[in-house]
Subunit: 316 residues, 2 copies
């Protein structure tokens, strides 16, 4: 087992990572530090399959690439993709095919020893975990803020991010794994499955794959549903008080809840009658889905079999 990622490090991935089938967008980012501020020049989208050596250079500063390694535009992979697009940051998209367990492949584990997507690579520095990535993007590229600039507003946003990370994400994820990853896992022959498990760096993640294959217990699934109900009710109450989840402005907390729950909860759990129970949440979801940056993120590659796309719910 490889040690888990303990600190950002220089990426060691094989050079180009360019596969015809793997890249849907290739973007580049050029910035230069000037007077203590980061000046970001937004470049237009470059045609697909342009090699990274073709990235533009600016005369007054180093060429810097932002690479985003991600899977389908939902959950964690969506959560850091939306801020990149909202902030107008050109980035190179590297699609990681979870259906082929690419996240556990040697070349990817050399980039992220935890073997998980998404990963942000910024000028050779690796940042993992979406909440950490999104705060990092705010610190480095503050021009279009998704984190309130006043400390109280930032604290309100972090309160919600923490709630979503610790009390929402895993519960929706369990149902998603039960329905989708379970089918994928059961289609793998036993010996092959054990070999795949051995390649998963995080013990918790190995356990989750094993459970997905045998099926999560009805008690665990019921508990997860109860937590999801608690969360949607909490968000609904909040939206009666403020326009957005963390206050009067659209923030990373909205993006977090949308990506992990809000975008798909109504379609994933029809028995919860979310439309009746949480009308404000539905209106908020529609407002988010209509944002150009969100729509662009949702249009990213999705190899999930269409019949299994309960994940993406009402968002598309």
């Amino acid at each position: 087992m490889r040690p888990p990622l303990t600190e950002p490090k220089l990426a060691l991935q094989p050079a180009p990572l360019i596969r015809g089938w793997a890249l849907t967008l290739i973007l580049s980012c050029v910035y230069r530090a000037h007077g203590g501020k980061v000046l970001l020049s937004r470049l237009s989208f470059l045609p697909s399959q342009m090699a990274s050596s073709e990235l533009l250079k600016r005369p007054n500063g180093p060429t810097v690439t932002l690479k985003y390694y991600h899977a389908e535009p939902v959950a964690n992979s969506l959560k850091s993709m939306i801020p990149l697009i909202e902030k107008g940051l050109p980035y190179q998209s590297v699609y990681i095919d979870l259906h082929k367990f690419e996240q556990h492949s040697d070349w990817f584990v050399a980039i992220n020893p935890e073997g998980q997507v998404p990963v942000l690579e910024h000028d050779g520095i690796i940042i993992t975990h979406t909440t950490v990535i999104n705060e990092y993007l705010e610190d480095i590229f503050p021009a279009i803020p998704l984190r309130p600039r006043d400390p109280v507003g930032a604290a309100r946003m972090r309160y919600w991010n923490k709630f979503i990370d610790e009390h929402v994400m895993n519960h929706v994820s369990m149902h998603g794994w039960h329905r989708m990853i379970g089918i994928i896992a059961r289609n793998i022959e036993s010996g092959e499955f054990d070999r795949l498990l051995e390649r998963i760096p995080l013990p918790d993640q190995r356990r989750k794959w094993r459970t997905a294959r045998s099926g999560f217990s009805p008690a665990d699934l019921a508990n997860a549903t109860e937590k999801i109900l608690y969360a949607v009710d909490k968000v609904e109450r909040q939206l009666a008080r403020t326009e957005w989840i963390a206050g009067d402005h659209y923030t990373l907390a909205d993006i977090n809840f949308y990506s992990h729950c809000g975008m798909m909860v109504e379609r994933m759990f029809p028995e919860l009658e979310i439309g009746k129970r949480c009308p404000r949440l539905v209106a908020w979801r529609q407002k988010l889905t209509a944002r150009p940056a969100v729509a662009r993120a949702l249009a990213a590659e999705d190899r999930t079999a269409p019949g299994l796309r309960t994940w993406t719910g009402h968002a598309r």
Copy 2:
């Protein structure tokens, strides 16, 4: 049930909160915003039991109080107390007696609807959850930093804070509850216990109290121990590479791991032979315990029966 805290709000607690037995320190904080920077004047510690009306005022700015509502100096209550002292921020300490379930009392739930300690009150604004409180303190009082000022350093710190919050804290806490809260809970007569449970705002917390009374299952305790071993090994590996957990500087990540695991893991789990297994962790713990700010925090009031203080471990 009261709705959980969804955003910081003005405190509505009964005016003075001054009880002879409840306050061990009364401190005051005066600041004024000037030229976009917060200038903080450190005042000396005020004598115990001075009423808040006696807090000093400065001619050029409003009087501002920092109040910290906390229990014993361990785990969450310690985690935000250390930064307050490290940063030289005078604050009013309000001891909340968990042995008397004061955190679920009406007056406290009016301050924090989630009924949990600790809580930071800053100039009437309520901030909850220690990781959020500690980032807030960095945002407001940056003069003595415990969060790296460079974004990559901050991301490394947040990576560790997230790991500790999500994969360490609850596992050590389960053993602590099993040993300590379980004894407290079993000493309460059934009818009275049910009435106490009804007053707990968070469903998860109600469940934890009920389980503590009946006892956590051996399987759950063994799983928690396995996660703790994973965590101490991960920290030990990191300390072979960097002096502190998140890099070359003492940060909030060190304070987090110390408060929730490092300070007590050796004495709480003698069977793990932490001294042999993790010598770097032990040296790191001693270095932290020797810091004047940490020593001052550890000297705060502790009403836990001495026989049950496995929590505080080797730190005192």
